[in-house]
Amino acid sequence: MTPPAPAIVVKGLTMAYGSFVLQRDLDFTINRGDIFVIMGGSGCGKSTLLRHMIGLKQPASGSVWYGEADFWALDEDERAAIIRRAGVLYQSGALWSSMTLAENVALPLQHYTELAPEVIDELVAFKLSLVGLAGFETFYPSELSGGMRKRAALARAIALDPDFLFFDEPSAGLDPISARNLDQLILELRESLGATVVIVTHELASIYAIATNSVFLDSEAKTMLATGDPKTLLQECTDPTVLNFLTRGTGQREVRTV
């Protein structure tokens, strides 16, 4: 076994809106091939942390490293080149409502590759079949159910075979079965594509089911309280806030997968 290679490293990151500091001194490492979960209660800055990692919001201080590159010290073009290797699944899907599913998935391919239109059509059909939406090419997002929209957004996120996949609350608004299927799909795609996955969530079921590493943010302490495999944290962590979260307030240290 070769030692795990760090894919994304966050060093001393402080996030703030104006003078209001959301989180300070975040330090953690995401290894290549990890399924890394950003967890914590509502309003603690999980999604904001994600926005710092995908280039939507600049840190107040500290840095985000992609391999050897200090992300926020790069110029805009170099940042775009890194983000091009990432696929993002937004909380509500964020499919472009004026385009069909095929057009949604095809747009990044048309933009960043020089493939012939027929090849792009084939790729789009394949990506949609990967997420179980074969035959839905001509549908508009408004004609789909919430779970189907999430999966269509996933097809768009993996359009360019990304090295990094970011998910903002993937199971929000889904029924338990759809949520579990989406988890399985994420696992399967990670296994097959070898991508590094970062997920923002507070769904304990999916945290235990898929996470290999995690960071816990707290809104009162305004910093991270723990990092590591959530299953290990559940057994070994002594911080009462983390434990309370991981045991859903019961204090019982046993993994209960739904």
Binding site: S129, M148, L193
Partner: protein, 383 residues
């Protein structure tokens, strides 16, 4: 265990993607894949391979010893081959493929979601005409129902109930009144200047420069003041009403009001329409004055009239009832703009696209209604 080739998309492709066909047995075909099969490479088309899958082949296998990098580009190639092989009843042995490829292929072949709804295709002309007529009938019903709801809300207001919050009403009054003053000033002054300029060129030929004041004064008071402020407000306020209500429709805020037993028409629509009905006549009077001032600038600067002379001529020309006509028109326009903006907002679908359409449609409807009602009122008054 066989090491899976490292997948890389950063694209330092080393060898071009190729495939070769091998025949270990007479009925067995093996496809040997080599090189980098990535989105940025240019892999061969599967045509030769598909042609080789003839009646003599009963088994298809793969060999990936020379394969370096792969991504979805390889997958769609394999998907085409495997699909064709399946159609020709050839056994496909996937053991030679990398495990990741095998898993993704399996995933893509999983039973897809059933298509339960088919988007409408193209219809015959009579069908399309029929649909249009039905849509038109449906629309007129909606308009009638909406008008009814507004009247009911108005009755509730007159009966002493409070269907909306007074602060909301005052905010709308401020927004479309004071908030519109700068743009109305600019446009009205310029319209006055234009009218005066056009008139001056003609009237100077008869030495009748002083009648420029009549032209500008009557033009503004009877027509242009109300019309221009109506058009500005349709763009500035009517559009924003449609966008606000449309977005509320998207966010299910309107449904939330309904389920609380609060009439969205009374709560959201009535204060907006009343605010416009109140403020547009005032804006119209303001625009009249601004237009007359704009005209006087040209009169003084180009026609050597004195300011007092010009204003006195204007005063003599315009009767109070003529002001009244402009004000009447402006109130009607106000109601129509509010009605069109709110109607389009309430009819809005649940997508970003629909909000855009509602906004555009609100402005177009308002302007059409303004011009049509203007000609109608003018006809009635001068019959």
């Amino acid at each position: 265990m066989q090491q899976e080739p490292l997948r890389l998309t950063t694209g330092s492709a080393t060898r071009p993607p190729v495939f070769t066909l091998q025949r270990p047995d007479s009925d067995h075909l093996v496809v040997a894949l080599a090189g980098s099969w990535t989105l940025h490479a240019h892999p061969p088309v599967p045509a030769d391979l598909l042609a080789a899958l003839d009646g003599t082949v009963h088994r298809l296998g793969f060999a990936c010893d020379g394969l370096e990098h792969w991504d979805t580009r390889l997958l769609i190639f394999l998907a085409t081959v495997i699909k064709t092989a399946g159609q020709r009843h050839i056994d496909v042995d996937r053991a030679g493929l990398p495990p990741g490829v095998r898993r993704l292929l399996t995933l893509s072949e999983a039973v897809p979601e059933q298509v339960t709804y088919s988007p409408p295709g193209r219809d015959f002309l009579p069908t399309r005409i029929g649909r249009c007529v039905l849509a038109l009938i449906g629309q007129s019903r909606e308009v009638a129902a909406f008008t009814g709801e507004i009247l009911l809300a108005l009755l509730a207001l007159l009966a002493g109930k409070k269907p909306f919050k007074p602060q909301d009403f005052l905010y709308f009054v401020q927004n479309c009144g004071v908030g519109s003053l700068p743009i109305v000033s600019l446009i009205a002054v310029l319209v006055g200047v234009i009218l005066s300029f056009v008139g001056a060129v003609q009237l100077q030929m008869f030495g009748a420069q002083i009648y420029v004041a009549n032209l500008v004064g009557l033009g503004m008071v009877l027509e242009m003041g109300a019309l221009m402020s109506g058009v500005i407000i349709a763009g500035r306020i009517g559009a924003s009403y449609a966008a606000q209500l449309g977005t509320m429709q998207v966010n299910e805020e309107i449904d939330a009001l309904r389920t609380m037993g609060i009439s969205p028409v009374g709560f959201l629509v009535l204060p907006r329409i009343l605010a416009l009905m109140l403020m547009l006549p005032l804006l119209c009077v303001y625009a009249d004055i601004m237009g007359i001032l704009g005209g006087s600038v040209i009169g003084v600067a180009m026609l050597d009239l004195s300011l007092v002379e010009y204003l006195e001529q204007t005063r003599k020309t315009i009767q109070l009832y003529q002001f009244g006509q402009g004000i009447l028109k402006a109130s009607v326009f106000g109601v129509l703009i509010g009605f069109a903006g709110c109607l389009r907002g309430m009819q809005c679908g649940r997508s970003a696209l629909a909000v855009g359409e509602a906004t555009t449609s609100a402005v177009v409807t308002s302007i059409v209604l303004i011009v049509v009602s203007d000609s109608f009122i003018t006809y009635l008054l001068y019959r």
